[in-house]
Amino acid sequence: MSFVSRSVLAVALLAAWPAAHACDVGSQKVEKVLGKKVATYSESGDFQKEIEASAVKVDTPLVECRDAPALVRVKTVNGDPVWVDRLDVKIAGAAKAATKCKSNVVSRESDTRAPAVSGIDPCSG
C-alpha cells in the first residue's frame, strides 16, 4: 500500500469518527423540559452548571445532538445554546430508538469442569 493510499485511508477513518458519534437533528424539537432544574454539560460531557427549566426555550428545533455522550444542544431564552442530557428534555419528532430485549441473561453457568483460564499466562513458555 502506497503512502498516498495509506494517508487517504487514515483521513477517511479520522473523518468517520465524529460522524459515527454524531446524530442527525432532523426536525427534532424540544417539546418539554422534565424536572425543575436542568444540568448543562460541555460538548465532551463534563458538567458545567445547573439552570432553571424555564431557561430552556421550548418548541424550538434542536441545535445539535450527540450519541456519545448522549447529549442534545438546545437553545435557551437568552439565545445561548447549551448541551443538556437527552433524558432531561422531551423531544418531539425523534426517531424511536430500536430497542431489543437482552438475549443473554446476566448469570452464567458455574464452571466446575474446566479450569478457568483468562488472558495470557506470563510464566509459561
Binding site: A20, H21, L34, G35, K36, K37, A39, Y41, S44, G45, D46, F47, K49, E50, D67, A68, P69, A70, D85, L87, D88, K90, A97, T99, C101, K102, S103, N104, V105, V106, S107, R108, E109, S110, D111, S118
Partner: protein, 561 residues
C-alpha cells in the same frame, strides 16, 4: 457411692439391652467415632458436605422466597460501552452524569459498586463524578443518599485476631481503622461523615474468610458496614420505607451482627420484563398478588426431585435452570433509550445499585441457584434479603447450640435409633416397607415422566427394581428420611435458621442403621465390644480377668493353624 453407681449402670445397661437388644455403650461408641471423624474433617469433607447441603436446600426452597421488588441493579454492560464508543473504566464525568440521571428518578438510595483506587489519565478528575450531584439544587437529587464503596485493609494489615466475619457485635474497645485509604479518593472521603450518616456514606468491601456468607458489619464493628448494610440503613431512613424497618433499627446493630447467608429466589420481579423476555428468564412474579401456593410447591418439588440427577442450572428449560435472580436487573444498554417516565417507573423509591458487568473484568460470584452472577447483582440480592426479611435474614446465629447441639442431637438419635430399628425390623413392618419402597420409586419415576425427564425416570425405575431384588425394605426409610430432613431444613429457613448439614444427617443415619443392624439381628453372636477387639483384650488383661467370651485375635489365629 461408687458401688451404687456401678450397680445402677449395670441395671441400666441390662434394661437397655433387654429393650433395644444392643449394649448401652454401643451408641455412645458410634457417636464418639462420628464426633472424632467430624472434628478431624478429613479432606474438608464435612465442610464441603455442609456447603452442599446448604446449596441444595437454598435451591429447593428458592420458590418460597418472595423478593421485595424494592431493589434494582443498573449494570453498565458491554453493549452500552459499545454503543457509546466508550472504554472501561468510564470517565468520571460519564459516571457523574449517570449518577445524576439515576438520582433524578428519586430512588431511596444509590449504591455505587465502583472502587476508585487509581487515578484516571487524561485530566479525568474525581470532582467530575461529584459535580453533577453536589452542584445541584434540585430537591429530588439532593435528598438521595449515595453509598460509595471502599476497600478494607487486607487481613494481614489488621490487628491479630481480627475477623471480618465476626459473629458478635464489638461493643467495647477502640474501633479498628479498617479503611484502605488509597481506595477512597480524598474528594469522596471529605464528603463522608464520621458517624456514617448523611448524604454520602461508605461501605467496605474486600473481606475474606467468610465463605459464601455476606457480612453486614466487618469485624462486628457498627461503624464498619459493608456496602449493602450502609445502603440498607439509608433505605430505612427514607420516608417511604421507614415504617418497614420499625421492627429492628439497623443503627442498633445487635440484630445485624451475624453474616448473612443470601437466599436466592426462583421468581424474578415483573419489572424484569423490561430488559429480558420470558424465553430468556424464568416466569416472574405476577404484577399483582402472590404466586399460588401450588405453583411454589410444585416448583420446589421439581428442584428437589430433578436436582438429584444433575445440575439443574444446565437444564435447557429456564423454569428448571432459574437463570434470572429475584432482583430487577437493568442493563444500561437497554435503559439508555428509555424515557424519563420509564426511568422513574423502574427506579423511584427503590434501592438502586449501580455496577458493571463487563467482559474481561472478573467480578463474578457463585450463587447456589443462578450460577455465576456479577458482584453488583450479589449485592442486590443481599440487599433484597434485608429489605424482604429484615433482621430475620438467614444466618448462623447460635454458635454454641451449633457446636454442642449437634452432638447432643446425635447422641439422642443414637439411643433412640435402637428402638426405631426394633420397630422397623418387625416382620409386618418390614413387609410393608418393601411395598412402600417399591411404590415410592415407581411414584418418583412417574413424577420424572411428568416433569418431562424420561432419562431420570428410567434411572429411578432401574434403581427401584435393583433395590427391590436385593434389599427390598431399605429404601423407604432413606427416601422418607431425606424428605423429612429436607422438609425440616426448609421449615427452619422460615425462621431464619440455616439448613445445616442435612445431607450429612441422612448419611449418618444410614451409617447408624448399618452399624447397629448386625448387632440387632445377631445379638447372640456379635458382642460389644467385639470379641476380637484389642482394647477389650488389654482391658481384661489389666483387670486381671477373662471375659465370658474372651478370645484374642492372636489366640484364634493360632488355633486356626
Amino acid at each position: 457411692m461408687f458401688r451404687r453407681l456401678r450397680a445402677f449402670l449395670r441395671e441400666l445397661s441390662s434394661r437397655f439391652h433387654g429393650h433395644a437388644r444392643v449394649s448401652l455403650w454401643l451408641p455412645a461408641a458410634v457417636v464418639l467415632t462420628f464426633a472424632v471423624i467430624e472434628k478431624l474433617d478429613a479432606f474438608g469433607m464435612h465442610e464441603a458436605m455442609e456447603a452442599r447441603s446448604e446449596q441444595a436446600t437454598l435451591r429447593i426452597v428458592s420458590p418460597y422466597y418472595t423478593p421485595s421488588r424494592d431493589v434494582a441493579v443498573v449494570l453498565v454492560d458491554d453493549d452500552y460501552l459499545k454503543s457509546r464508543g466508550a472504554g472501561w473504566p468510564l470517565r468520571f464525568a460519564e459516571q457523574g452524569r449517570l449518577l445524576r440521571q439515576i438520582a433524578s428518578a428519586g430512588p431511596s438510595v444509590i449504591l455505587m459498586d465502583f472502587v476508585y483506587p487509581h487515578r484516571h489519565g487524561g485530566g479525568d478528575d474525581i470532582q467530575s463524578l461529584l459535580a453533577p450531584i453536589l452542584s445541584s439544587s434540585d430537591e429530588t437529587i439532593a435528598h438521595v443518599p449515595i453509598v460509595f464503596t471502599a476497600m478494607a485493609k487486607p487481613l494481614a494489615a489488621l490487628p491479630d485476631g481480627f475477623e471480618f466475619c465476626a459473629e458478635e457485635l464489638k461493643e467495647h474497645g477502640a474501633p479498628t481503622d479498617i479503611l484502605d485509604r488509597e481506595s477512597l479518593p480524598t474528594a469522596l472521603s471529605e464528603q463522608v461523615q464520621a458517624n456514617g450518616r448523611g448524604r454520602f456514606r461508605v461501605g467496605y468491601i474486600r473481606w475474606s474468610r467468610c465463605g459464601g456468607e455476606y457480612p453486614l458489619l466487618l469485624g462486628g464493628d457498627a461503624n464498619a458496614p459493608t456496602p449493602v448494610f450502609a445502603a440498607y440503613r439509608a433505605f430505612c431512613e427514607s420516608p417511604s420505607h421507614a415504617a418497614r424497618c420499625e421492627r429492628s433499627d439497623p443503627w442498633d446493630a445487635r440484630d445485624f451482627a451475624h453474616p448473612m447467608i443470601v437466599r436466592p429466589g426462583a421468581f424474578p420481579t415483573p419489572e424484569q420484563r423490561f430488559a429480558y423476555s420470558e424465553s430468556v428468564c424464568q416466569r416472574p412474579l405476577p404484577a399483582r398478588g402472590d404466586v399460588p401456593a401450588g405453583e411454589r410447591f410444585l416448583s420446589a418439588l421439581q428442584q428437589l426431585t430433578l436436582g438429584v440427577f444433575g445440575d439443574l442450572r444446565r437444564s435447557p428449560s429456564v423454569q428448571l435452570a432459574l437463570p434470572c435472580p429475584a432482583v430487577t436487573v437493568l442493563p444500561l444498554s437497554r435503559l439508555q433509550n428509555a424515557s424519563r417516565d420509564t426511568w422513574n417507573e423502574l427506579l423511584r423509591d427503590k434501592a438502586v445499585i449501580l455496577g458493571a458487568d463487563i467482559s474481561g473484568i472478573p467480578d463474578l460470584v457463585e450463587s447456589p441457584v443462578h450460577g455465576q452472577i456479577p458482584g453488583a447483582v450479589w449485592h442486590g440480592m443481599a440487599l433484597d434479603n434485608l429489605v424482604a426479611l429484615d433482621s430475620n435474614y438467614l444466618a448462623q446465629r447460635h454458635p454454641a447450640i451449633r457446636k454442642y447441639g449437634g452432638f447432643a442431637l446425635l447422641l439422642a438419635f443414637a439411643y433412640a435409633f435402637a428402638f426405631i430399628l426394633h420397630f422397623l425390623e418387625l416382620k409386618a413392618i418390614r413387609l410393608g416397607r418393601a411395598w412402600i419402597s417399591f411404590t415410592l420409586w415407581v411414584i418418583l419415576a412417574l413424577a420424572y415422566v411428568g416433569f418431562g425427564d424420561v432419562r431420570a425416570a428410567l434411572f429411578c425405575f432401574a434403581i427401584g427394581v435393583g433395590l427391590d431384588l436385593t434389599s427390598p425394605s431399605t429404601s423407604a426409610v432413606y427416601l422418607v428420611g431425606i424428605a423429612i430432613a429436607a422438609a425440616c431444613s426448609a421449615l427452619l429457613l422460615r425462621w431464619g435458621v440455616p439448613p445445616g448439614n442435612w445431607l450429612g444427617v441422612v448419611l449418618v443415619a444410614a451409617a447408624f442403621g448399618h452399624a447397629l443392624k448386625p448387632y440387632y439381628h445377631a445379638s447372640a453372636i456379635r458382642q460389644f465390644p467385639a470379641r476380637l477387639s484389642v482394647l477389650r483384650a488389654i482391658f481384661f488383661a489389666i483387670a486381671g480377668r477373662r471375659g465370658p467370651h474372651a478370645e484374642h485375635a492372636f489366640e484364634s489365629s493360632h488355633r486356626g493353624e
